[in-house]
Symmetry: C2
Subunit: 540 residues, 2 copies
């Protein structure tokens, strides 16, 4: 299991949860629930991997409720175990297929203990955790292989802590490179050659696709818990800076894009839209803006979108744009001017004009919008539109996003279509007549192994099944990406069943016929896939 | 004594220091030093009033060293008492004349106890502590008295928690109004009618000079510990917003200038110039910029000067300008374009171009510069210059501040003159041939009861004694302000001797002859004085 080494990695970084919680005892219902030694270490790791995302590192609550001893001790060991195993109506996942009984017992005890605040991280500490494997001057000056690297799919292998580099022409896995754990997204240099990934463990990696095989050339830890990364693409700052965002500590770090040397750190702690101080104000998502020398830093718990100007980082201009909680994932319109992001638990999409650096709209789209990489296309009625699926309901909502050409439609719902279940991702391509969307969050395989394909002209949905998934795989289909030509759609399959993680795969569909065309096997939890050409050209 | 009521005020505001530290015991040297009840309450109040400014609310150190149990317990009760009573070579004041023996004992014990973090303060909590005494529509439409209110001196009566309103023509005390404790500065509306003060206790007050007598029309607590306030003066936002800055919580709050309703709160927690996180990143000083719709927010511990644009507070633009620690007090050049602020314990003045919103210079001026309201004048050699006295040495340093007309002199030392002792304030007026400076920080009355008067043309210093100060007053001269005409200089006298606080006074000198002209008595610790006309016209 990879998880073992991840725990060791966290501890070697000084994550102090294990060390700081003292006391003796074993996992059991008691007045002073305590864990020590290996049990505490395992509980820390499970909490970090499975729980902190929604409930917060400090357990003060975020998109999920707080898990502080005041409340959790009242519920008691047995009730907590049931909640963890079975989930709740309020949106909590069931973990009975993910954690075993012993792990559920551990976590139920753990969340009755006093939470411990992890340490801060200074620039000096980041530099101690910074390695350049290949100096910039030693990098190759041309590709070292003959592959069509612009049609590579840079693929997150979530639970393996790796990125799979897959040849889109031959469907071969070119290499798997070690990165941080559970990478959320990967972002490209402007020529598509270098890819930057942020692990959930705060490990920022730089990958060179020209090397044979592609490999990591530098890495730095900029936080203990993190999600996203972005690269400066504007004007003279093209490929000069990389920004990484921390969940803990809640800050962003601007690094040199060549070496990943950390240059600047800025705290995102602040006040939410109710004017309450948030100590754990996490950086959810980061983007470069195509039309300005700025990054967008989206702070989940405060609902603040910070447009951070990188043209002078010693006199750092920041537009602190107010919106709604909890900011999650966003994407640009087709012009690259307007940014569209989900304030997911407020059920809104928020729209920012990155030229004026101001908010221009907010739209209630339905329960918990989640666009992932998003999709932009032309609707016959509304003109340019974009859409999102929802975590909270089986629905895709599309809104107008052309304020110049269709001002009455801009930032208003154009239409919505019902799917069979809540999903995570949708995707399209200008060469395709379709928008593909998943139904990942539905509990039943009869739904979550199907994806929906919408005709852009008729808005009609066609369900497409991912077949040949043995029941013991407990498989789910998630995330779509087009190839360079826009005539194939790649769908990820997670084999979540215990002992079958390595059986994950990518199923390649012909976009026109919706027939399966190829299958790439032996991938542990393949998730986000990034086609080099489409991403560097901002296609979709 | 006023202090009693201040303690009660703090506690009624929920300052939790007293409540949160538990245990029993009395003031004494022991392994676990403890204070309870009245002793703890007194120690809290003394620490807040006398110690927190330099050592921090969290006692983690700021311009003074940390006072955490790890170090203070090693020193022990007796040694701590001696340090508090006698001061140190490193710059710590001696408190033997300020605190009695019992108070010194209390504080020596208190600083061996674990510090307790005070609570945050939300917008809702500020609104609970917000009172409008006179609704804006009920305010008079013309002055209700015949006094020449433009020559009023709005005067801080520091330890009384009051502002004295003094008629500059008649030298009468028109009224004393209750404000926050130990107001640091007062800032004016653009017509000079309204004055805004920030108490050290976080109490922001608005005073109307047109009422008879002048009185407080609204107040709001925006922090538990605070220093400064500023008013928006630019363009269409003239007199629209008032900003207050917190030491604890470390944030700034933008309020409606009419009613003081809190509208927006922004955290200033962040990273210092070494890239280390600062949890207590205190807002030291606030200014409106004459040439842009912005406030300057100076964060002491991070060395960050934030130029905060108030033209759209929902999409709040902030320039985070890096400089040096620890930012303290600043002033503009005569054009109002360039801002000049002391990074005092880095021994630098820092210069910001508020048009480009960037730092343009930094100058090592000598030990711990402290300009207070500052002074700008024409030097025969260097052209336009500004100057500062120093907390750390008897010196006034002047630098060129005309980058257009005298680019080679700009932000460089023009000259410096030695005085007899370290001081806090200097001041001049365009109608005056002089720059006056105090020597407040010298320990000897033979020096600190004298002020220095410099001839702008010859740079020669003439010492001027404030006479007739009985020895038991333990008096010190501090802070100068010119009258409207620029032919009088008002010097404050603190009567620090125990039981004589009420004997403080203001001594008025003829600027030309340097002879005493009048004396205004019965003022408790008069400190900063703000001549309405000079301040609203930015004269000096």
């Amino acid at each position: 299991m990879k998880r073992k080494s991840i725990t060791a990695g966290l501890l070697s970084l000084g994550l102090p949860l294990a060390m700081a919680v003292s006391g003796i005892g074993t996992a059991a219902a008691q007045d002073h629930p305590e864990l020590t030694g290996d049990d505490l270490e395992r509980a820390n790791t499970i909490y970090f991997q499975r729980c902190a995302g929604c409930h917060g590192t400090l357990r003060r609550g975020a998109t999920g409720p707080d898990l502080l001893p005041e409340t959790s001790k009242d519920l008691g060991q047995r009730r907590l175990e049931r909640i963890i195993a079975l989930g709740t109506e309020g949106g909590m996942n069931n973990f009975d297929g993910i954690l075993d009984e012993e792990e559920i017992t551990l976590i139920a005890t753990y969340i009755q203990m006093e939470p411990v605040e992890p340490p801060e991280m200074s620039i000096a500490e980041m530099k101690d955790r910074w390695t350049v494997f290949v100096q910039p001057e030693d990098l190759p000056t041309e590709p070292q292989h003959d592959r069509n690297w612009e049609n590579f799919f840079v693929t997150i292998l979530r639970d393996a802590g790796q990125m799979g580099i897959i040849d889109g022409d031959t469907k071969e896995v070119v290499s798997k490179v070690d990165t941080g754990y559970a990478v959320h997204v990967a972002k490209e240099s402007s020529d598509g050659r270098f890819w930057y990934t942020m692990g959930r463990d705060g490990r920022l990696s730089k990958i060179d696709l020209w090397m044979d095989p592609p490999q990591v050339t530098a890495e730095v830890w900029i936080a203990y818990d993190a999600r996203d990364v972005a690269v400066s693409h504007y004007g003279e700052w093209q490929d000069k800076y990389v920004i990484g965002g921390g969940y803990w500590p809640p800050h962003f770090v601007i690094t040199d894009a060549d070496t990943l040397e950390p240059l600047k750190v800025v705290s995102t702690r602040g006040y939410n839209t109710d004017g309450e101080y948030v100590h754990e104000a996490r950086v959810a998502a980061l983007y470069n803006t195509p039309g300005a020398p700025t990054f967008l830093v989206n702070v989940k718990e405060t609902g603040q979108i910070w447009q951070v100007d990188y043209s002078d980082i010693d006199n750092l201009r920041v537009e602190m744009i107010e919106s709604k909680e909890f900011l999650h994932d966003g994407f640009f319109d087709r012009t690259g001017r307007y940014f569209q992001i989900a304030a997911n638990f407020s059920h809104h999409m928020v729209f920012v004009d990155t030229h004026t650096r101001k908010r221009v709209g907010m739209l209630n789209t339905g329960e918990i919008p989640h666009p992932g990489p998003g999709a932009n296309w032309d609707d016959p009625e509304c003109g340019p539109v974009a859409g999102t699926v929802h975590l909270g309901e089986g629905r895709m909502t599309a809104w107008g996003n052309d304020p110049e050409g269709h001002p009455d439609r801009a930032w208003q719902t154009c239409f919505s279509v019902e799917t069979d279940g809540p999903g995570l991702f949708l995707r399209t391509h200008p060469n395709s007549p379709h928008v593909w969307m998943d139904q990942t969050m539905h509990p039943e395989p009869d739904v979550n192994q199907w994806v929906m394909v919408m005709n852009k002209q008729t808005r009609e949905l066609t369900p497409v099944q991912v077949t040949d998934l043995p029941a013991e795989y407990d498989a789910v289909a998630t995330h779509m990406e087009y190839n360079q030509a826009g005539d194939e759609v790649w769908v990820s399959v997670w084999a979540r069943g215990r002992g079958h993680l390595e059986a994950g795969e990518i199923v390649v569909f012909d976009d026109k016929t919706k027939e399966e065309k190829a299958r790439i096997k032996g991938l542990e939890t393949p998730t986000g896939k990034f086609n080099v050409y489409n991403r560097k050209k901002h296609i979709g």
